[in-house]
């Protein structure tokens, strides 16, 4: 019979908080950039300039730079947000991966303890 002891600590239980924290960091960064960079830039670009002025913006102008920011930033920011979501999922998967080992240990421990509970228990 295997030695009756609790399950050994697993590396997954040390690593999963890193992924959970990473998930939060990436989502908060995305929200912060969206709220404090992209939204004000969009308000400035579309809300303060007529279409004819926006369309006539020349190279080197602030308007064209704003348009660049609005066109380019979401292309990497949105995937970054989803990377945060994926990080949460990896953390959850790591936690789940420890459960089969814990339950296997539970089987060993319970099969050792049952006869003693029956003999000495209430």
């Amino acid at each position: 019979m295997n030695e009756v002891r609790p399950p050994d600590p697993t590396w997954q239980m040390k690593v999963y908080p890193i992924f959970t924290a990473l998930g939060w960091i990436l989502v908060i960064v995305s929200f912060t950039i969206g709220l404090f960079v992209l939204a004000p830039t969009a308000v400035d670009y579309w809300g303060r300039n007529a279409k004819s002025v926006r369309d006539a913006a020349n190279v080197g102008s602030q308007l064209l730079a704003d348009l660049g920011t609005l066109a380019v930033t979401p292309r990497w920011l949105v995937p970054l947000t989803f990377l945060g979501v994926a990080s949460f999922m990896v953390g959850i998967a790591l936690q789940f991966s420890t459960i089969p080992g814990i339950l296997k240990n539970r089987g060993v421990v319970m099969s050792a303890c049952f006869p003693l509970i029956v003999r000495y228990g209430k």
Binding site: V4, P6, S30, G34, L38, S52, P74, V78, F88, I99
Partner: protein, 242 residues
Amino acid sequence: MTEEKAPFPFNMIEGMMPAYPMIAFMGWAFVLIALLVGIFTLSPAQSTFFSDAKAVREGAAAGSAFVEANITRHVIEAWVPQFKFLGLGLGLMGITMALGMIAKRLRRMGQVIVSHFPDDFPAPIPPIPTRVRVFQLSAVMGIMVMLAALIVGIGLATGVVPDYFNNSIANELNPAGPGSALLSQLSIISSYAFWLNPLRMIGMSFLFTAITIALTVIIGTLITQAKMLSRFYAQTSARAAA
């Protein structure tokens, strides 16, 4: 063995936990509705709007089929994504509730086993960890954030968005100058997605965190029970050998 009653408001949350299949199915239904709206309302509106040349669709006046289609496609895109993500959030909340049920049953199972231990083996049941309340609150917070995002989306879809797009593109929207009501409406319409979409993700993050913490409760309970059983085995088998 008496059932432990949680304090208010956690007793209400725990009272809802057995309904997790219904909550998960409701979430699925929300996403299905978003799909059906996309197929039967948004797609036809897009199709109608892009059915003619740019000069024709942009020159169409308010009340025309093109302007109505333009309103419809923008209104749907204001509220349906928030509704869809609320559906996903309800699914995640169903998972959290199911994990909470598992944690409760494990605790109950531990109480049953301990009740059969001999009197000379002290086996106090640990108090319910604070993490349980944290994950319950995290799940509620996540759903509240996603509901808030939906309310904002509905507010936009019934206010600024239809008001703005109920105008001829070429004759009213494009010529709008700085300081005009139209341009300030455009500033809202063009900027809300940049913060509202990540806000939905913050709601999802609260729900994922709730699942994570619920799993630490389950794993912690399993390990605590294993330690108690191992201690019982060591003590009782020593007595048996003596």
